[in-house]
């Protein structure tokens, strides 16, 4: 597609429910990132996918959070048993970067508009 697409744009859920957030990166981009941004805060790194390599999950805050990337394209971030502190905007970004080949211009990240998650 023309840009990174995220859905839904807004999600309201009840505490304890599971949610799935979707990210459709720019076609051909091998790298995909998930970030979380609480109100008025910076970007908190969650997880990074690079091609067929094992994802870097070092930023996931708890085992309630998981993500997968099917076929090297679309990614889904799943939050199980949501808590009120999970309320935030979840941003996805993609880039052309390839593992082991840090080519400067290809490391520009392109962000989606985000999913605003509200846990009641």
């Amino acid at each position: 597609g023309a840009g990174v697409s995220q859905s839904p744009s807004n999600k309201v859920t009840e505490k304890g429910k599971d949610v799935e957030l979707r990210c459709d990166p720019i076609s051909g981009h091998t790298a995909l990132y998930w970030y979380r941004q609480s109100l008025g805060q910076g970007l908190e790194f969650l997880i990074y996918f690079q091609g067929n390599s094992a994802p870097d999950k070092s930023g996931l805050p708890s085992d309630r959070f998981s993500a997968e990337r099917t076929g090297g394209s679309v990614s889904t971030l799943t939050i199980q048993r949501t808590q009120q502190e999970d309320s935030a905007v979840y941003l996805c970004a993609s880039s052309l970067a390839r593992k082991g080949a840090f080519i400067l211009a290809k490391n520009i990240q392109y962000f989606g508009a985000g999913t605003r998650l509200s846990v009641l």
Binding site: L43, D56, G59, L91, A93, K99, F102, Q109, Y110
Partner: protein, 109 residues
């Protein structure tokens, strides 16, 4: 990897005043990127600096990369309300580029 600290975390200026944010590293950086996030929006790439001492301009924005490639600055001349937002210089480490808190600029009309 590159660990970059950004200062200040917040800056409030009167419209028309200048604004500068700095990114500093204890190690030599291979390059540095700058992004801007408007309130309610998502980060957008502004520029990439690669060469020692490099200076690039985008209208009222001036980006500099230090001679030692350990620091960078973004300077905005005569701020306008459209400059409001958070400016980021992400870190590169462990083969990934990650964002931190950035510098949040607010403009007092």
């Amino acid at each position: 990897g590159q660990q970059v600290m950004q200062i200040p975390q917040y800056q409030h200026v009167q419209e028309g005043e200048d604004f500068t944010t700095y990114c500093n590293s204890s190690t030599t950086l291979s390059n540095i990127q700058w992004y801007k996030q408007r309130p309610g929006g998502h980060p957008v790439f502004l520029i990439q600096l690669v060469k020692s001492g490099e200076v690039k301009k985008q209208k009222r924005l001036t980006f500099q990369f230090g001679e030692a490639k350990k620091n960078s600055s973004l300077h905005i001349t005569a701020t306008q309300t459209t400059d409001v937002g958070t400016y980021f210089c992400p870190n590169f480490g462990n083969e990934k580029l990650t964002f931190g808190t950035g510098t949040r600029l607010t403009i007092i009309p």
